[in-house]
């Protein structure tokens, strides 16, 4: 209902297409299709019996991230439910343009437009996730069940969220706190045939009434266990893993201020496939030349060396103050502790110690002021924010040396302003960053500690514009720059990376990466057809990568290829396309395609580990009601991943009895096609709604290998998997 001026607000809308009908007694009603999030201000003119024209302004309240003009895709609601039970990295693959770097079935690192690790920023519950993300076999330590919405901001988006985000940003957001007094919750159960995986996750939450109105709480926990996974023809030994996660949240929201304390713990133990464990280069070549792993045991939940034991604790405090005159001021402080222990095979010593131990403690503080939306006389609206991000972290290592102890300080100031007028939205942002890094080393001969210090400063900016060509057709363009200071692994790695079969050397002379990113997005929402088309070009100066050296390193276990961190000028460009066509009212076709081209200008060649082109097409049939069931659907899908033809040539030669290789250990695997099917429905059990999803993946049980899975040298990828997902919300009003 509008107010006396004809204005009204629709808040907390879910993303999607809405049909809005504007009605007023005595006027002709007008029906509009509104696409959210995409609309900012919509003026509607109702025609009457030639009396007057009334203006209706629709202003929706969207989260700050959603207001950014950066290309972004969201995974929430039913789409997120379909991915429950998977790791964060795996579930994000449902988003066009996303891929993952995998180390077996349990370690999956998200890749946005070909960039990963430190080039992607993950905001877990509003806090910049700081773990040992430089490692290819270090997946983000976040419980996927904490999220009720995953937002991927593609392309350089560091203005708002901080430096390093030259590939993009992933926002992991929990569901909104309950406001209605009473106790509620949700139970999720997932079971899968492959690995005989079981997951149980639960939420219990509540809000108080009377004197404690505004106070709400939530506890959440997840238990997960999986045994050896199976390829079409054999089990992968020691690929078991387990997770125990827990989080608790306490909120107080008053009329114009609020505060929150949040704690979460993520704890996992991940077995690494024994067939991928090699002592040296000759073991590696022997393993690669075998069509199947030598050891093929039966199923087991056993979890032995080699494995990783990782825990991540996050404690966050947040307070905000909101005023109609000044806007919103939010302060967030957080402390994170990441403990990582990596256990390799021990041959004879029976040692219980890990080979690698890293403890990273990070404190962050963010102060953000979002000013009140101001409208000028022409009907345009200004919105924007400015703020400060601060970070300090200390890293401690023990046992083998891979990266040094260090202390890191970072500070950044930013401002973003947005102007919306009729069909136009323009946005500009600037950011200034300072970073300081001191690495500590031990001279083992003199037993004295010494250190080296780096510091960097950098300014970046972004400019974007969005124009509604028609009500259902929007064109958005964005130009932004971003930078990433070389991290401690780039600068000072020095050691044998046993799991990667590589001797890695840092390069203290590395300069920061600087990205120049352009994005163009076209979004169309029609009655039967809707489409999102994104084109991007990301030019990165001083792109850092591991370059193979020509001389291998000889150690007790034999020869290892050696790598040094190097810099080149690189381009990542590509197209993301998502098309949906409703063949009938019930039958729809969805096609998601990602094409990526990456090039190393300095050496005039291709880069290693670039996601191949892929297309995922599905056909879905829905029933509103079927017997006593609601929201019934069934779908079939086909995922085609092309062979990566643009990869460095793999060559090997022998020199003085040692094998020297360039490019990669093995050429990219062939293209593959995976068939999947899914069915789901909702029903009521004991008065509570229950939603059920059955998913089958790799139904044809095809033996395939993925280019970005580091175990592709040794074994096939996962075979057929059938999973069952149950979700039951619980509600008991007071």
């Amino acid at each position: 209902m509008t107010d006396s001026l004809g204005r009204y607000h629709l808040t907390e809308l879910c993303a999607g297409v809405y049909t809005v009908e504007y009605r007023y007694i005595g006027y002709n009603s007008t029906v509009l299709r509104v696409r959210i999030p995409n609309e900012a201000v919509r003026s509607v003119i109702l025609t009457t019996n030639d009396i007057n024209l009334a203006t209706v302004e629709v202003t929706e309240h969207r989260s700050e991230a959603q207001q950014l003009l950066q290309t972004q895709t969201e995974l929430s609601g039913a789409a997120l439910d379909q991915t429950r039970g998977q790791s964060l990295g795996e579930s994000l693959k449902a988003v066009t343009g996303m891929y993952s770097v995998q180390t077996g079935p349990s370690i999956s690192k998200p890749v946005i437009h070909g960039l990963y690790s430190n080039r992607i920023l993950i905001l877990n519950n509003g806090v910049r996730q700081e773990d040992q993300q430089w490692g290819n076999e270090h997946a983000p330590e976040i419980d996927q069940f904490v999220a009720s919405r995953l937002t991927v901001i593609k392309g350089a988006a560091s203005i708002r969220y901080g430096s390093d985000a030259i590939g993009g940003v992933i926002l992991v957001e929990p569901r909104a706190m309950p406001t209605r007094p009473g106790i509620g919750g949700e139970v999720n159960l997932v079971g899968a045939t492959n690995g005989r995986m079981g997951v149980a996750s639960g939420i219990l939450e509540g809000a108080f009434s009377k004197k404690l109105t505004g106070l709400s709480w939530r506890v959440q926990g997840t238990l997960k266990r999986s045994g050896y996974v199976k390829t079409p023809h054999y089990y992968l030994e020691n690929t078991s893993y387990r997770e125990r996660n827990f989080s608790a949240d306490l909120h107080y929201d008053h009329r114009n201020w609020g505060a929150e304390v949040f704690f979460s713990r993520f704890d996992t133990r991940i077995g690494l496939f024994t067939g991928a464990q090699v002592g040296s280069l000759s073991d590696l070549y022997a393993a690669i030349s075998r069509p199947e792993p030598l050891s093929q045991p039966g199923f087991s939940y056993a979890l032995n060396r080699p494995y990783q034991q990782v825990s991540h604790d996050l404690l966050k405090g947040r307070a905000y103050l909101r005023s109609d005159r000044w806007g919103t001021l939010t302060l967030t402080v957080a402390r994170q502790q990441n403990n990582r222990e990596e256990y390799d095979y021990v041959a004879f010593s029976g040692s219980l110690n890990p080979e690698l131990y890293l403890k990273l403690v990070t404190q962050t503080a963010d102060l953000v002021w979002e000013h009140r939306t101001r409208t000028n006389r022409k009907g345009g609206a200004f919105s924007g924010s400015m703020g400060f991000n601060g970070l300090t972290q200390g890293n401690v290592r023990r046992y083998l040396f891979l990266i040094p102890n260090y202390r890191n300080y970072a500070g950044g100031l930013f401002a973003i302003e947005r102007y919306t007028h009729n069909r136009w939205t323009v946005e500009g942002g600037i950011r200034y960053d300072y970073r300081w890094l001191r690495a500590y080393f031990l001279n083992e001969a003199t037993n004295k500690t010494y250190f080296t210090t780096h510091h960097w400063r950098n300014a970046n900016g972004s400019l974007g514009a969005s124009y509604e060509l028609r009500d259902n057709l929007t064109l958005t363009a964005n130009l932004s720059t971003a930078w990433r200071a070389s991290n401690v692994a780039d600068l000072y790695s020095n050691g044998l990376h046993q799991s990667a079969v590589a001797y890695e050397r840092g390069n203290p002379a590395l300069r920061p990466e600087q990205a120049y990113n352009g994005n163009l997005a076209l979004a169309y929402t029609g009655k039967r057809f809707s489409a999102e088309l994104g084109i991007y070009n990301n030019l990165i100066n001083n792109y850092i990568y591991l370059k193979p050296d020509s001389v291998p390193v000889i150690r007790q276990r034999g020869a290892f290829p050696s790598y040094t961190y190097n810099q080149v000028r690189a381009t990542f460009r590509g197209i993301d396309a998502t098309l949906t066509y409703n063949l009938t009212e019930r039958l729809s076709l969805t096609s998601k395609t990602s094409l990526l081209y990456a090039y190393d200008h300095t050496n005039g060649g291709f880069l290693v580990y670039i996601p191949p082109n892929r297309t995922d097409n599905s056909l879905r049939y829905t029933w509103n009601r079927l017997g006593g069931l609601s929201n019934v659907y069934a779908s079939v899908s086909g995922l085609y991943v092309a062979r990566q033809k643009r990869a460095p040539a793999v060559t090997r030669r022998e020199e003085n009895g040692v094998v020297i290789f360039t490019g990669d250990f093995a050429p990219p695997p062939p293209a593959y096609l995976l068939l999947g099917a899914e069915a789901g429905f909702s029903c009521r059990v004991a008065g509570q709604p229950l939603s059920v999803i059955v998913t089958g993946s790799n139904l044809a049980n095809v033996a395939y290998r993925d280019y970005l899975n580091r175990f592709r040298y040794y074994a096939d990828d996962l075979g057929r998997n059938i999973s069952l997902k149950l979700k039951m919300p619980l509600n008991r009003a007071e």
């Binding site: 200390g394 500590y440 007790q556």
Partner: protein
Amino acid sequence: MQIFKKSVLLLVAVGSLLGACKKDEENVAPTDDNEAITTATLRLTSTTNPADTVSATIENLNTQANFSRATLNLKANTTYSAVIQLWDKTQTPALDATAEIREKANEHLFVYTPASGLNLRVNLTDQDTNPAPGPYPIGLSATMTTGAASSGDLNVVLRHQPGAKNGTAQPGTSDLDTRFPVVIK
């Protein structure tokens, strides 16, 4: 603003309580390998003349290997009994890795491979206690029989084969892979 101030103060207090930095990173732990093999010694004794012993040692295997005392000078057409010893000298006192390998003999195998021009034959003489179809050789002791005068490298590989030992070199991973130069006169 009063309430805001209070909440900021509270958060800062909570943050500093939990986030007090102790500068742990300034105490650097030395590099410590659970399983360094720094030293490998081959000791050969002539079976016909026990006074005739030859010994060769490779040091610093875990960093830049030192081969200055690694050459085995053998007599032609002689049979030697050989034992290998491995040490971890990063620990004090030095750890005898050979003893630990003997304890876990059922998952270890030494593989001795003479270079093609070297007239040397190696037979492993010890056996583990693997159940049938075992037992299999270990290779901590062996007989080495020389032929005519020649020279070349003797490659020594220690294979770690937990649960997979089958008498061949294929399963498992290498814990040691090095070379002793051999001169037969």
